[in-house]
């Protein structure tokens, strides 16, 4: 059998090129006009002090349109006296899929209701996946995520850890949106808060 010459398959929706398009040069010039036009337009915008691109210069600039449900940063909640609500049970560190939470527990003889407290609570934001499982795992509502982005661009991965001091930003008395229940110590069945 004689081998037949290769026939390129013709598709039913194949674009029929006109004479003008097949001459190639004119279409090239049109394409160069489009790209050059975009270039000149953006350069003109830039020279008149506007930005010729949609890019946001993070970290110098922040986008204004983060979603309302964006949860990009952790906070540790506090008791009214300023101590962390965390009891260093390590459940968040256990459930964390990226293993970014490190907690050192310590003993506090002054607070018999909560003798265990974290002496060190650190989160490595270079590895955090922002899944929120730590918030779900916490039995004490001690860790929450808030609508923010960690302001942490750094040249060094060791600078991307946040410690207890940076995380203890949520104080019940300063939260106007969700006021802390001012429960009396006596009618709390689980003991003093």
């Amino acid at each position: 059998m004689k081998p037949s010459a290769y026939q390129r398959k013709r598709y039913w929706n194949e674009h029929e090129m006109s004479w003008w398009e097949r001459a190639y040069l004119f279409e090239i010039l049109r394409g160069l006009g489009i790209t050059g036009g975009v270039f000149l337009r953006n350069m003109f915008k830039w020279m008149t002090g506007r930005k010729g691109a949609l890019t946001t210069y993070y970290p110098e600039e922040r986008r204004a349109d983060y979603a309302a449900g964006n949860r990009g940063k952790h906070v540790l909640t506090q008791r009214p006296d300023g101590r962390p609500q965390c009891v260093a049970c390590n459940m968040c560190a256990t459930v964390c899929p990226a293993k970014v939470i490190e907690i050192d527990a310590a003993f506090d003889p002054d607070d018999p209701a909560h003798p265990k407290y974290p002496s060190r609570f650190e989160i490595d934001y270079s590895r955090c996946v922002f899944c929120g499982l730590c918030v779900e795992a916490c039995p004490e509502d001690a860790i929450r995520m808030v609508q923010d982005v960690p302001d942490l661009p750094a040249f060094d991965r060791h600078r991307m850890w946040l410690g207890k001091e940076e995380l203890l930003t949520w104080h019940p008395l300063s939260d106007v949106a969700k006021p802390y229940p001012t429960a009396k110590r006596d009618d709390n069945p689980r003991g003093p808060a």
Binding site: I28, G31, L32, T35, V38, F39, N42, G52, A53, Y57
Partner: protein, 382 residues
């Protein structure tokens, strides 16, 4: 004698400085222009911090070229276990050196009279003049083709000696493509040689200084618009840039003939490519855009129609000519970058058939028409 030495050392320093600056800056310009064309911002983070201060000079990311060079210099120089280490080591230089040498015959300014420029040294320089061109050779264009032909050898050496199939294929492609387009470049320029009657680039530029038809500057592009287009296309193909970047097609051949090169050896290939963009700009300017000439300008100032004369000092004329030449090169470079970021790549068979079945017949036809026109014009003139 010693005056010649001083003048030419200054010329060579100027030429090398210009080429190196273009080579470094074009890496940044290419990225930045591509970004602006695509509604992005582009490289803008590299900075130089002034010593002992916190002042960071960003300058729109202009230092990215420096950062690239530094990175290339300090990276590991990986060497493959090749059977031909000498050819492997020498190939980047074979590509890089001829590219620099081409600039020797390109005139980057008019006539320099040091006595007028530095009156204090007038006694030493006398009334001698030097054309602003490193080597005023009769065979200017021939030298250009001879040197740009040498870069083919470098690309093929690199592809052959790397002991890598991808490099081998890239070297083969580079060889056939560059030789094909070398031919086209030569034929497109022949028409210009017929019109100007010389291959000396200095003479060619001087003959483009007038005005034709009352309003057009006597630039080569108005005599030979068709040849200008073919020349630019073939030159981009010769430089192996994107519509024709088959020798280094990264989707097929990793990096083509310099796959096995790393650190500054690979940097030399890149640098040679970017300097060649500037060289193509300089050649195109010299041949088709009137070189350092501005319309209505001569060596003593502007002479506009209606005998309106703006005299200029010799220093001002020299500076204007240098700046005009550089600005023209920049515009042509920018146009090449525009082409590189607009057009998709050819298929390999298309590249070669484009050279042999389309560009070559067209350039021969252009040459024939030019020859007939020049002959009939001279016949009627004499």
């Amino acid at each position: 004698m010693i005056q010649d030495l001083v003048i030419y050392v200054v010329y060579i320093a100027y030429a090398v400085g210009v080429l190196m600056t273009f080579g470094t800056l074009l890496t940044w310009v290419e990225r930045k222009q591509a970004a602006v064309m695509a509604d992005r911002i582009g490289a803008n983070r590299a900075y130089v911090r002034l010593p002992f201060t916190q002042v960071k000079l960003v300058w729109w990311g202009l230092f990215h070229g420096l950062a690239d060079g530094l990175k290339m210099l300090v990276k590991e120089d990986f060497k493959p276990r090749t059977y031909d280490w000498y050819a492997y080591a020498v190939a980047p230089w074979v590509v890089f050196t001829p590219v620099l040498l081409v600039f020797a015959v390109i005139p980057f300014g008019g006539i320099l009279e040091p006595a007028k420029l530095f009156p204090a040294l007038a006694g030493w320089f006398g009334d001698r003049t030097w054309p602003m061109q490193i080597a005023r050779l009769d065979a200017g264009l021939i030298v250009v083709f001879a040197f740009s032909g040498l870069t083919i050898i470098g690309a093929m050496l690199a592809g052959w000696s790397s002991a890598n199939k991808f490099s081998m294929l890239g070297g083969l492609r580079a060889g056939s493509q560059m030789i094909s387009y070398e031919l086209v470049i030569g034929l497109t320029v022949l028409g210009l040689i017929l019109i100007f009657g010389s291959v000396d680039l200095g003479v060619i530029v001087q003959k483009q200084s007038g005005i034709v038809l009352g309003f057009l500057p006597a630039w080569g592009v108005f005599y030979q618009p068709f040849a200008a287009m073919l020349f630019l296309t073939a030159a981009i193909a010769e430089n192996k840039r994107i519509p024709f970047d088959l020798p280094e097609a990264e989707s097929e051949l990793i990096a083509g003939y310099y796959t096995e090169y790393s650190a500054m050896k690979m940097g030399l290939f890149m640098f040679a490519e970017f300097i060649e963009i500037a060289i193509i700009g300089a050649l195109f300017t010299t041949l088709f855009l009137g070189g350092y000439n501005l319309p209505y300008m001569n060596d003593s100032g502007f002479v506009f129609p209606g005998d309106y004369v703006v005299p200029m000092s010799h220093g001002a004329v020299v500076v204007t000519q240098l700046v005009v030449f550089l600005v023209k090169i920049m515009l042509v470079c920018s146009f090449q970058i525009l082409i590189r970021w607009s057009l998709p790549r050819f298929r390999y068979d298309q590249v070669l058939s484009f050279a042999w079945k389309f560009m070559l017949p067209l350039s021969i036809a252009n040459l024939a028409v030019t020859a007939v026109l020049v002959w009939s014009h001279q016949g009627s003139a004499t």
